[in-house]
């Protein structure tokens, strides 16, 4: 399929998922009323509040988080040249989660919490990169370091849970599973800040192409791989940190979406990045709708849905993919 057609198709998918999400939700509303509220924003009333103040902001949050996590996955996979790399497997989300759990138990929210998340993400990336540069780690050793870091961070979280009061723990556990139902204060502003950053990654599409060929080829084609990697990893950590602060740990988006998009749009990051961002946005929006619809009136954490849907989808994909199509 032609690349432009793929992007158009994914754009259609994302827009369709927005429509689905606007017409469904935890609180039922007849489609006719939803439509009326959408067509007349000034009408107000229960339907207006529901659509404009609850559903739409939630769709925007889901879309931004989904697109950002997918973009980060693409960046990590290109830089580490490993199909398993993503914020979750590299321990970046885990570091962020540790920061967030500490923030929750300290009663912090909003920006201070995001700052702790970012600090946690940077800590993991710093350890992984420090190991890479100081000890000349191979890429698989890097992934291993990330996986082990994840375990250490989750043990640290467990430790905190086992000494904290049970009420705080319940809140923190629910949040850890990843949910878009109650983003902390200031989330909108933080997401508005990282969206341009995530979109800006597309300016580095050609650098990512080269980095995915390895350091030596990058070098001979004139790219300063070290500088480009540091810059891109810093941006990806910042984006991941904000996503974790806003919505907890949402697994698999950074892994499944880039692989799926690579299958459709190819490995060229000029297409792969926008394709992944569109697919990631649509996927998380749909999963979030699903999380509200499965056992109404209860709401599942969306991380549970992405974990199950994404995991099953990924296994099916791997079973069907030809080896040369996977990095």
């Amino acid at each position: 399929m032609n690349r432009a057609a793929v992007l158009a198709l994914l754009l259609f998918f994302t827009l369709a998922s927005v429509v689905v999400a606007l017409f469904t939700g935890g609180t039922p509303l007849p489609p006719a009323e939803t439509l009326r509220a959408l067509l007349d924003p000034s009408a107000g009333g229960m339907a207006g509040t529901l659509v404009w103040e609850l559903r739409l902001p939630r769709v925007i949050t889901a879309g931004t988080v989904g697109a950002s996590l997918a973009a980060c996955g693409v960046v990590f996979q290109a830089i580490l040249r490993n199909p398993l790399a993503e914020p979750y497997t590299l321990g970046v989300s885990g570091g962020g989660a540790l920061g967030a759990v500490i923030a929750i138990l300290l009663g912090l929210g909003g920006l201070p919490m995001a700052a702790l998340c970012f600090a946690g993400c940077c800590l993991s990336v710093g350890v992984v990169l420090g190991a890479a540069y100081a000890r000349n780690f191979t890429n698989s050793m890097l992934i291993l370091t990330g996986v082990i870091l994840s375990f250490i961070f989750s043990s640290a979280v467990m430790f905190i849970f086992s000494v904290a009061s049970s009420r705080d723990v319940h809140a923190a556990i629910l949040w850890l599973m990843g949910s878009l139902s109650s983003p902390p204060e200031g989330s909108g502003a933080m997401l508005a800040a990282i969206l341009p950053l995530a979109l800006g990654l597309t300016l580095f599409a050609r650098d990512l192409n080269l980095l995915s060929l390895g350091d030596e080829t990058s070098y001979h084609l004139g790219l300063d791989a070290r500088k480009a990697k540091a810059l891109l990893l810093l941006a990806a950590s910042l984006i991941t940190g904000v996503c974790v602060a806003v919505s907890g740990v949402i697994a698999f988006i950074g892994l499944v979406i880039p692989h799926f998009s690579r299958r459709l749009a190819g490995a060229d990051h000029r297409f792969l990045l926008p394709a992944s961002m569109l697919a990631g946005a649509g996927f998380l929006i749909l999963c979030d709708s699903l999380s509200q619809a499965v056992i109404r009136p209860l709401e599942l954490p969306v991380g549970v849905i992405t974990g199950i849907v994404g995991g099953v989808f990924f296994v099916l994909y791997l079973l069907r993919a030809r080896p040369e199509e996977v990095i």
């Binding site: 050609r206 390895g214 080829t217 084609l221 790219l223 190819g266 199509e325």
Partner: protein, 260 residues
Amino acid sequence: MDVLRAEGITLGYGKTPVLRDVTFGVPGGSVFGIIGPNGAGKTTLFKALSRLVKPWKGTVSYRGADVWGIPRRQFARKVAVIPQFRSVPPPFTVSEFVSMGRYPHAGRLSRQGREDERVVAEAMELLDVAGFGHKLVSSLSGGEMQRVFLAQGLAQSPELILMDEPTAHLDIGQKIRALDLMKSLSRGGRLTTLVILHDLNLAGMYCDRLIMMHRGVIHAEGTPEEVLTGKHIAEVYGMPVRVGLDAATSKPHIFFLPQG
């Protein structure tokens, strides 16, 4: 004037020098060959020449300027490097992969222009990979992949191309076509080629000048007739050979003499 010049290069790994005081010049528009047995220091020399590893002592200069004083990107616009071992790339198509050769010429915000497309199409045509431009590089055979790597190098529109054993994965027909191509580009004066070759007969046929490396130093230097002598080959490779002259090309041809 020499396009590339090595002046007293000493370089090694750890504390052991692999190269000792290597000096030579590559004349513009020539095909320049480096030969020698395994472990002679050819690939280490290649790393120094391609500005990948800084020599302990001595300098490498490109058109009179120290290569370490030339910014990397600018160097990549003039010099293409095709290393011997490359991992199988991610699932890029052949044309995407060859297009990456334009990287050092492109600005961050600029799109690939007409000129870029023309250069890429020409490189793909020259290496006969245009027919499968939409195929994934990772799905190609070793020989096809090697041609795609070479096409990416040509897409840099280099003045100098450095190749470490570029014909290793090619069959004899592909070897001859690839070397013919390098020779014809050099003859046009557009390109200078420096190439490490294992096959002494191919080196004699295609190179204007040769250096024969042995244990980290240049053992012999000159035209193929001067370098490819029975004496030199016996000294460096430790085996007797008979060297004849090809009647048609009057280039040296080496006949191997199996023992026992």
